[in-house]
């Protein structure tokens, strides 16, 4: 039967339901690529926040060694070091997944993107772990 305007529209449970920002947080029926898309957005937004936080903190250098050294003392406390690990992990996930998105979007390795994603996330996890050991070890 040919489609006509009288036919019912796509059910509300389809992908159209998930369009928009609210849809990012709906994990139902998502495949690995969909989850990677959401994680890429969330890590990206976190990194944007960090960019402006970083610029704000660097302005302490204008106030001289006193202000800077006080900040460094705080930054070397365990809670801040944990944030460093979170930052490193976010950068690795966003950067490595970004490489996958770029490669696939430009037409490379599209058929193996799932394996590529898993491989890159394993690399991210290993580097984040080594980084965490070094951050807390120093």
């Amino acid at each position: 039967m040919a489609m006509s305007s009288a036919e019912p529209r796509r059910p509300a449970s389809g992908p159209a339901r998930r369009r928009g920002v609210v849809g990012w947080f709906d994990p139902r029926g998502r495949r690995l690529g969909g989850l990677a898309f959401i994680v890429n957005r969330l890590t990206g937004l976190g990194l944007v926040l960090y960019l402006y936080l970083h610029l704000g903190i660097l302005s302490l250098l204008v106030q001289g060694p006193g202000a800077w050294d006080t900040f460094v003392d705080i930054a070397l406390s365990p809670p801040f070091l944990l944030l460093d690990v979170v930052l490193l992990t976010g950068m690795l996930i966003h950067g490595l997944n970004g490489i996958r998105v770029g490669l696939v979007g430009l037409g490379f390795v599209a058929s193996r993107q799932r394996a590529l994603l898993i491989s890159l996330m394993v690399v991210a996890a290993v580097v984040a772990l080594v980084g965490a050991i070094r951050i807390f070890g120093d």
């Binding site: 928009g20 969909g34 957005r41 250098l61 490489i99 770029g102 599209a110 993107q113």
Partner: protein, 139 residues
């Protein structure tokens, strides 16, 4: 094919032509997608240099005030750091634009968002350059 079955799901604002979307939005997304990829590649290099500089040039990392100032006095470092700031700002705000476009605003509002983010981006880089000058001037 559902959206989730596509090879990747870049946002509409940065979609490459291979993703099945309405022709108009796909065509609009191509320059942004290419910009995101090019700036992303540049960031991998510049962020790598930034991280190596911050953590491996000095045994303790660039932690102490005098070490940071000495590092920033190198003209090559200034050029690299300003380039890093420019690329990271462009990449970040292009991403924010893609996120905002997901709200489904009108084309006119999307244009205003692009203009506003362009202003924010330029202001960010200018602030960074002024900050460099102020840090070195105060040292």
């Amino acid at each position: 094919m559902t959206t989730d079955e596509l090879p990747v799901q870049p946002p509409v604002a940065i979609q490459p032509p291979a993703v099945a979307e309405p022709a108009e939005s796909t065509a609009r997304g191509i320059p942004a997608f290419v910009g995101q990829v090019v700036s992303g590649v540049a960031l991998i290099i510049l962020l790598g240099l930034h991280m190596v500089a911050q953590h491996f040039v000095v045994p303790t990392g660039l932690r102490f005030y005098d070490d940071v100032i000495a590092w920033l006095r190198n003209p090559v470092v200034i050029v690299l750091e300003v380039a890093f700031l420019a690329f990271v700002t462009y990449h970040a705000l292009l991403g924010v634009r893609a996120v905002l476009f997901d709200f489904g605003f009108s084309e006119r509002t999307e244009g205003r968002i692009t203009t506003a983010l362009t202003v924010v981006g330029i202001a960010t880089v200018v602030y960074g350059v002024i900050l460099f000058a102020a840090i070195l001037g105060a040292a």
